[in-house]
Amino acid sequence: MKNNLKAFLYLLPALVFLGVFMVYPLADVLVYSFEEGYNSASQTFSGIGLRNYSFVLRDPYFLQAVKNTFILVMITVPVSTGLALVISLGLNSIKKLKNLFQTIYFLPYVTNTLAVGLVFMILFKKTPYSDGMVNILVRLFSGTTVDFIDGPYWAKMLVLSIYTVWIVLPFKILILTSALGSVKQDYYNAAKIDGASSWRVFSRITVPMISPMLFYLIITGFIGAFKAYSDSVALFGTNLNAAGMNTIVGYIYDMLYGDSGGFPSYASAAALILFAIVFTITVVNLMISRKRVHH
């Protein structure tokens, strides 16, 4: 008992900070989300109920944001993880210039999101002076040019997906190259002696061996993609609702501080809906991993 007391005393500072900056705000968000007609200036509300949720769930901007977020998640998580795996395998199999390529692939990780956004503008944005690099290429192959930043929905979604993949790729490559590097050569030698084709070596040896890392990347990838916001801002500016490219986190931000903001209750309700989505997906992921991941 005495030992326990001492342990808690040591933990106290951390617990206080966590309580003040994590637990209390989280509880507060939960409370806000049920307070109807909350006024942040007078700190009053008219009643308690589910009206905030029903408003958010019927708000076309929110539904658009949910749709955008889901599309983004479904495209970028598999594409970025798969691409990272392919690139890592490539990096792992070359000897010359390996460090150079590793550095190149790692560059986006240390580059500011907005700076990368600028690069994407040069690549994709139509201006009075230029159609953007990509459109110049498109014209070279005699296609019709598309306005990727201000044009049709799928063009914008394409650019946003490429952008997101580009941003998250370096970290995944970093993790996967080190995971691949830690697989002992003996297993590959054994598989070679056993006459396994390269596809079977990949699917039956390599993937299971790095599956814990792969799974870690998929889970954090899902969570990260559901929380996407800055990528969209970097490409389409702050008025995301007008661009039709808002995400759930973007919607929450707008509800708090945006031009039409000042509704912490709506923001809280949206935040809790996002939490429920992320929670569900993570649980499903964990359940799948029980069967698929070899520790």
């Binding site: 003996d186 297993y187 070679k192 002696i193 079977r200």
Partner: protein, 370 residues
């Protein structure tokens, strides 16, 4: 199947990128392994024995020289087409697969007309498991097995395809002493039962001597001697082989031959008919000492170690090279431990002479040996 290595050489580039020096792991190695025999590739670490094994199985490509399985030249054949089974030193069992899946893996890789039905694969896997006595462990993961059991799984996985040649890299080095004795008998039994030509690499001479039909002693990439274990032990070609084989190791003295007599520290210890006068190195096997009150070799007495079956007499001599002489005598032979010295007669067949410079063997005149 017979295996023949013809002037096999393997050169590795230096680890230091800037230096142009190369490391010759295996140099002009030639030997023939008769079909159906168990061969021990023996040598100290870094002698090139593992590289030789990797060359035979195809994980390494030789710099020059050829490898034949039977009459077929397999030098340019990739590992998977050579039909070899390899047991790795650390077993390299796939940790995410059960024992059964590990054993099935090589069978599932078979393609074309060699492809087997599911039932056939299971049957073969069970056969291999029975051979190494792990039938009851099939659903376990490698991490749930002891070292000895993992070893058996590794052997089963290597055997399940019925390879032409079975190769084992330091198969016993990861096992504890008791298990090692037991497993080496197992190896012998499995090899006899399957009749597969088997090559294993070891640095433990006792291990190699005890179960091999033939041993090949290597040092620094060169074969020093090969042959039946007892022949190599009794009749080593040079001092290295003599020192490497035998526990306790052979006792080496500085000696001299003068007037057909072998002298150690000035005292004549043996007839040396037919040996030219000059300095020699004298190797005396530990079982070559016979305590005798008027023995020719007088040594300073240090201690007696009673081992039960026999007794080790630890003693010293000014001409001895090394720390202490170890003579193994039968436990019944009385040794007077009160005197400061102990005298021995020597068994001539256990005394080996070597050239002090080249360390090549110098033989006694066979005729005069009587």
């Amino acid at each position: 199947m017979k295996v023949r290595l013809d002037k096999l050489t393997k050169v590795f580039p230096s680890r230091n990128k800037r230096s142009k020096e190369v490391v010759t792991a295996v140099s002009e190695v030639s030997f023939e392994i008769p079909a159906g025999k168990l061969v021990g590739l023996l040598g100290p670490s870094g002698c090139g024995k593992s590289t030789t094994l990797n060359l035979i199985c195809g994980l390494e490509k030789p710099t020059s020289g050829r490898i034949f399985f039977g009459d077929e030249d397999v030098t340019d054949l990739p590992a998977e087409l050579r039909g070899v089974g390899l047991v790795f030193q650390n077993y390299a069992l796939y940790p995410h697969m059960t024992v059964l899946k590990n054993i099935l893996f090589p069978l599932e890789n078979l393609k074309g007309d060699k492809k087997l039905s599911k039932e056939m694969m299971l049957q073969k896997a069970e056969e291999a498991a029975r051979l190494v006595q792990i039938s009851e462990l099939m659903e376990r993961k490698p991490s749930e097995l002891s070292g000895g059991q993992q070893q058996r799984v590794a052997i089963a996985r290597a055997l399940v395809k019925m390879p032409k040649i079975l190769l084992l890299d330091e198969p016993l080095s990861n096992l504890d002493a008791r298990l090692r004795l037991q497993t080496r008998e197992e190896l012998r039994r499995i090899q006899r039962e399957t009749g597969i030509t088997t090559v294993f690499v070891t640095h433990d001479q006792e291990e190699a001597m005890s179960i091999s039909d033939m041993i090949v002693v290597m040092k620094e990439g060169v074969i020093h001697q090969s042959g039946k274990p007892q022949d190599v032990y009794d009749d080593p070609k040079d001092l290295f082989v003599a020192k490497f084989l035998g526990t306790p190791p052979i006792n080496v003295f500085d000696g001299e031959v003068r007037g057909e007599k072998l002298l150690i520290g000035g005292a004549a210890v043996l007839d040396a008919a037919g040996v030219r006068d000059g300095a020699v190195k004298v190797g005396i096997r530990s079982e070559g000492f016979v305590p005798s009150a008027d023995g020719a070799l007088e040594c300073g007495f240090t201690a007696v170690e009673v081992m039960g079956r026999d007794t080790s007499v630890i003693c010293s001599h000014p001409a001895f090279i090394g720390d202490s002489i170890r003579a193994v005598i039968s436990a019944e032979t009385p040794v007077d431990t009160t005197k400061p010295t102990v005298r021995f007669d020597l068994k001539k067949s256990k005394v080996l002479l070597f050239d002090p410079k080249s360390e090549e063997r110098i033989r006694f005149d066979e005729g005069a040996n009587g």
